[in-house]
């Protein structure tokens, strides 16, 4: 992109990149150094010894898996329908999605609180999984619609001439081609469901059901405000996220590049 001829300018560009990147590292450094304050590594032992860490992780995994499953299936089918099939009043449905895209989480709290209590869903994992999936869907449907629109329709028509139904064409022609956008959708959904704070805070009242985002607060209880342990808890929550991202980084980037947003 940039054309650099001289060796000196090349080094300057490298230094500029380095200087620009360092500020992004500082908060992580602060988190790590802060977590070792006071009694050092013992902070991690103390966090682990509360016994809640595995439970909180398990709950976050259950919730994220549930949200990803719902979002993946519903946005793959809907994105395909929007991109490749005829729908009566498509424009109107499209606007319904755009309105839903703008909806902030905080608006859902009271209506869902009342409804979930009536339906006896309150303080179950569903009370978090359902709203998170609904909040994620509009964006992922748009992403997949844009991606599917780029797949040549001839591929599907050819399958149809060979006698395939729409479902068969979807399963055997479209779905295998959507891997890049599929992993981008999975990654974005994982980020949003793993990081969700407000819904678990309000809708999962039992301590045994709480999630990793509530872990720092465990040490901000009524009697203690133990800064170093809060930060140790933050590091423990951050590590699996960073590892998951590093594993999926290549696929995620490919998905975003494959015309995710245009």
């Amino acid at each position: 992109m940039l054309r650099i001829k001289s060796k000196r300018k090349k080094i300057l560009l490298q230094i500029l990149l380095f200087v620009m990147t360092v500020p992004y590292l500082l908060p992580l450094l602060q988190m790590f150094l802060g977590s070792l304050g006071g009694r050092g590594f013992y902070n991690y032992v103390a966090v682990w010894n509360t016994g809640v860490v595995p439970t909180y992780f398990r709950n976050s995994i259950i919730i994220s898996a549930g949200v990803i499953l719902i979002v993946y299936v519903l946005s793959m089918t809907a994105g395909f329908g929007f991109a490749k099939l005829n729908i009566l009043g498509k424009e109107a449905f499209f606007w319904l999605i755009l309105v839903a895209l703008t909806l902030p989480e905080v608006i859902l709290l009271t209506p869902l609180f009342v409804t979930f209590q009536r339906m006896h869903l309150f303080s179950t994992f569903f009370s978090v999984i359902f709203p998170l999936a609904a909040l994620q869907l509009p964006f992922t449907i748009l992403l997949i619609r844009n991606f599917d629109a780029g797949i040549p329709s001839e591929l599907m028509e050819a399958a149809k001439i060979d006698g395939a139904t729409t479902s068969q064409a979807f399963l055997h022609v479209i779905l295998p081609l959507t891997k890049p956008i599929g992993s981008a959708v999975a990654m974005l959904t994982l980020i949003n469901s793993w990081n969700s704070y407000l819904l678990p805070l309000l809708f999962l009242q039992k301590p045994s059901m709480q999630t990793v985002t509530l872990l720092p607060q465990y040490f901000q209880g009524e009697f203690t405000n133990d800064q170093t342990k809060i930060l140790a808890a933050a590091v423990l929550t951050a590590i699996p996220e960073i590892v998951a991202y590093l594993c999926m980084q290549k696929n995620f980037e490919r998905g975003m590049s494959a015309g995710a947003l245009k």
């Binding site: 729908i87 895209l101 989480e105 209506p111 990081n195 590049s257």
Partner: protein, 288 residues
């Protein structure tokens, strides 16, 4: 042609599951909120009192509501420019011949994946007199006290720094994706003709990424209006409502103080602004 249409006119069943879900969760909630916004209810009493538009007239006289709007506008204007400028520059540099591109990409994107709830305690420490910034100033003998989060004049700007830190990765990855589709030969031809780097970036690359910029503007408007986690967790909207956003104010009124009718009116207002904002940016995109 007719036959082909009839074969292809079967999309409804494919979008219905998603819409069923959206209607139950989201459109039901919107309807509920509209209705609640004309009520006076504390969430506990079995009856709600219908008050018409009283919650709305109250809202327009509420100084904190206007403060939240002002904060949202300032916040959007500054973070949008800074975050996308940085994302664009990072993308341009990392598309060039530099060492360790993957390491830099990951470092820029990692903040985006970390939960605000996880990072909030870190930032509260970092921007406090016990944090690393203060240690640096003390070490360099610079007489600055890092108490910016507790001052109404500066707290909002600290939150903007945090938000830019968090979301540059998103701008970066979208610009990076857009730039990989720009014709390299055309750029090289212009550069051989003597156009400098800054000039090609500004006159060729940036216009080539226009779609991305518009998408980011739309996400930015919606995101600014939705802002909740970061101000709530770091400053709880304070000091003196200096970092109050509509989201935090709805939470304060609705969940903390049980003024559910009033919170619902604020929610309706927020939703209307988000839809109008999204509509206008979408229109700006199409009207080129």
């Amino acid at each position: 042609m007719k036959k082909r249409l009839s074969i292809r006119n079967n999309g409804m069943i494919w979008i219905l599951p998603a819409f069923f879900f959206l209607i139950i969760m989201i459109y039901y909630s919107i309807f509920f909120t509209f209705n609640l916004s004309t009520m006076d209810w504390d969430g506990l009493s079995p009856t709600m009192e219908r008050v018409g538009f009283a919650n709305y007239t109250k809202m327009f006289k509420d100084l904190v509501f206007w403060k939240a709007i002002k904060n949202t506008i300032v916040y959007f204007a500054i973070t949008f420019v800074v975050q996308n400028f940085l994302g664009f520059v990072f993308a341009a540099i990392l598309h060039s011949d530099v060492k360790l591109p993957t390491v830099h990409k990951c470092l820029i994107f990692i903040p985006t994946i970390l939960a605000p709830a996880t990072m909030a305690p870190v930032f509260r420490l970092m921007f406090s007199p016990q944090g690393m910034l203060q240690k640096f100033f003390d070490f360099a003998h610079i007489p600055i006290t890092v108490d910016w989060l507790s001052k109404p004049q500066t707290a909002l700007y600290v939150l903007m720094v945090i938000v830019v830190w968090e979301f540059t990765g998103m701008s970066f990855i979208l610009y990076y994706a857009a730039m990989s589709q720009i014709d390299k030969e055309m750029l090289e031809a212009a550069q051989i003709d003597g156009a400098g780097n800054i000039r090609t970036l500004w006159t060729m690359v940036f216009p080539g990424c226009k779609g991305t910029t518009v998408s980011l503007a739309m996400l930015g408007v919606i995101g600014a209006l939705k802002t909740f986690d970061i101000p709530y967790l770091i400053t709880t909207g304070g000091p003196d409502h200096a970092t109050e956003f509509l989201g935090t104010y709805i939470y304060r009124q609705g969940i903390r103080q049980s003024h559910l009718g009033y919170a619902a009116a604020l929610s309706v207002m927020l939703l209307v602004m988000a839809v109008v904002g999204a509509f206008l940016t979408n229109k700006a995109n199409k009207g080129e």
